[in-house]
């Protein structure tokens, strides 16, 4: 069912040029390939289908029905899960996750584009050294810094607030996005800058009026990936948030595990499924960008 529309859509567009002799073998081969691919797809998507299916099953069905799909769909798990943690509703966790994710997105877009413009376009003493340091931080594992950063943010009184998760992003600490934007800005013709300079634009006006608008695709990529990364992030949120009213979704979901009885599986799955919806929506909207954009940008160089 899933493959049919695309096969229909692409059939008239694919005239299959190769030699007539090679054609029958190719078709047979491609049939085998499709069978293998569909089988792999079933395996690969089974856990997601299982998550969705189970989230709509009643407790009895969860225990007895082996099928992915429930016999009768019940939304009860969603209602139960939403208020399943005593004293706090999932709306709170959702709000907290949105605050952190939006903060990170804004921080990354603003600070990384500023730094990237300096590296990509401006000449200043020691630029090579700073650029090398920036690349160095790209490979630095996050876990190495978590203890001293915790001590730092603790002394600022920021623990148990979203600040340690957001503020560093306003300081261009996500070197990956700086690098991504540097690469992108290098592709923008320099003649545009020169024309702007002749018209009397200084570096600041050139950045805001010329380079930044043309960097939009890289800014969108940064937005999408910052959001997904932060939404799924667990480690730093676990470290910094320890009051239940401050919890984000991943930390909130964990509470279900602590209270896990067979009865809590349904609500737990319902909330898990719900927590993935924003990421999935981003994926639907920016599918091409996500699948083609960032991953290949590193090798085209």
């Amino acid at each position: 069912m899933t493959t049919a529309p695309s096969t229909l859509a692409s059939a008239p567009l694919a005239p299959q040029a190769p030699s007539p002799a090679g054609r029958p073998a190719r078709t047979a081969g491609s049939l085998v390939a499709h069978v293998v691919l569909v089988a792999l797809l079933v395996v690969a998507l089974y856990p997601i289908a299982y998550l969705l299916g189970t989230s709509f099953k009643s407790p009895q069905e969860i225990a007895n029905n082996l099928n992915v799909l429930p016999e009768s769909f019940t939304p009860k798990n969603y209602a139960d899960g939403w208020s399943g943690i005593p004293g706090v509703s999932f709306a709170r966790f959702f709000t907290n996750s949105v605050v952190v994710s939006v903060g990170v997105v804004v921080g990354n877009v603003v600070s990384c584009s500023l730094a990237a413009y300096a590296f990509a376009r401006l000449r200043f003493p020691l630029r090579g050294l700073w650029f090398a340091l920036m690349i160095g931080t790209l490979l630095l594992p996050h876990h190495v810094l978590v203890v001293p950063q915790y001590v730092l943010f603790n002394s600022l009184g920021w623990v148990n607030t979203p600040l340690p998760l957001i503020v560093p992003k306003f300081l261009a600490t996500d070197a990956f996005f700086v690098f991504l934007m540097v690469q992108f800005m290098r592709g923008i013709p320099r003649t545009l800058d020169e024309a702007a300079a002749i018209d009397g634009c200084g570096p600041f006006a050139t950045f805001f009026r010329i380079v930044l608008p043309l960097t939009k695709p890289a800014l969108v990529t940064t937005t999408v990936f910052s959001f997904i990364q932060t939404w799924n992030d667990f480690f730093s949120q676990l470290v910094y948030l320890n009051d239940i009213t401050k919890y984000t979704l991943p930390i909130g979901l964990r509470l279900f595990l602590d209270s896990s009885g067979q009865n809590s599986v349904g609500p737990m799955f319902a909330m898990s499924a719900l927590s993935l919806v924003p990421v999935f929506l981003f994926f639907l909207v920016f599918q091409r960008l996500i699948v083609e954009g960032i991953n290949t940008s590193g090798i085209k160089g």
Binding site: T3, R123, L140, F234
Partner: protein, 322 residues
């Protein structure tokens, strides 16, 4: 600074090139000021959030520090304890090495295999590619780790499926010999991201190479070994570096599946999880810092080995003949 231009023979070519023409000088200087202005946030981040904390963590690694009392200097004690007197530490090293050494090659092999299947035949590639990517998109989340824990649990669906084939079930999660395996499977399941990179690399291999190959009588496997694989080696290298670094930093799934303990019997105690437990479970900040530095050194060595090995097997098309 201003008089460097008047003494050209004494300064390096690079510095002399900077402020020579009287007309260009103010503009250059304005550009330098602008450059540093644009970098202000980045500088604060580099020094305040990265470099200073790194040095501070190096200092902490030689101390006993619980966040309440000020750090007590204890010299190399943390490192000595870590290397000679903490069996849990070595359990975590072992779990991490096994996890990375199995999951990374497995993930890359599946990714390459599926990419080759998809590349052959262009029908529906877009849809397949998007669907295979979905696990990579969601796989790092707590939600999927929860699903995994249920799937591989004693009453999980995996056992039901195995039961159909007459294979006896067990709780894969609570058995020390299989728990890490479930984490490996979860990592390999997210093969979509490297697959997408392989596909992009495959597209860049010129079709004439295969035509020339088949004219010379090369079969599919010969073509794969002598054309596809060498041409794809830079992309394979890129994926290997990315996945190795990611593989050593796995945390979420290990935490969720083991209920935050790294159990059973430390079998899922990945390095970062153990670091978390020491640092934020019992607030041994000094010990956790020593662990972090050990991690940085080992990961640095491993990355260096991967890069070194690259010069042996990575083939760059523009390198020319040897």
């Amino acid at each position: 600074m201003a008089d460097t231009a008047s003494r050209p023979p004494r300064v390096s070519a690079r510095r002399a090139a900077r402020p020579p023409a009287p007309g260009g000088s103010p503009r250059r200087r304005r550009e330098a000021v602008a450059g540093y202005t644009f970098l202000i946030p980045w500088f604060i981040g580099l020094f305040g959030i990265t470099l200073f904390p790194m040095l501070y963590s190096l200092y902490l690694s030689f101390t006993d520090y619980d966040l309440l009392q000020s750090p007590q200097w204890i010299g190399l004690e943390n490192y000595v304890r870590m290397l000679t007197d903490d069996p849990q530490y070595w359990n975590s090293v072992k779990a991490t090495l096994v996890f990375a050494l199995v999951s990374v090659p497995l993930k890359l092999a599946v990714a390459l295999g599926v990419a080759l299947l998809l590349y052959r035949d262009r029908r529906g590639v877009g849809l397949y590619r998007a669907l295979f990517y979905v696990p990579s998109l969601l796989g790092g989340s707590v939600a999927v780790a929860i699903v995994w824990q249920t799937l591989f649990g004693g009453q999980g669906a995996i056992n039901e499926i195995l039961g159909i084939f007459g294979i006896g079930g067990r709780s894969w999660i609570t058995n020390p010999s299989t728990a890490l395996g479930t984490l490996v499977l979860l990592a390999a399941w997210q093969f979509g991201a490297p697959m997408v990179i392989f596909l992009a690399g495959l597209k860049q291999i010129p079709a004439e190479m295969f035509e020339a190959g088949s004219l010379d009588g090369a079969g599919r496997f010969t073509q794969f070994w002598h054309i596809t694989l060498p041409m794809l080696s830079p992309v394979l290298f890129f994926n290997l570096v990315l996945e190795t670094i990611a593989g050593f930093q796995g945390f979420t799934a290990a935490f969720v599946i083991s209920g935050g303990t790294g159990g059973p019997a430390d079998s899922t105690l990945l390095y970062t999880l153990y670091l978390y437990l020491r640092g934020f479970g019992d607030f041994q900040m000094g010990y956790a810092s020593a662990m972090a530095w050990g991690f940085l050194l080992v990961l640095g060595v491993i990355t260096a080995i991967v890069f070194r090995s690259g010069s042996l097997w990575v083939h760059y098309a523009d390198e020319g003949e040897h």
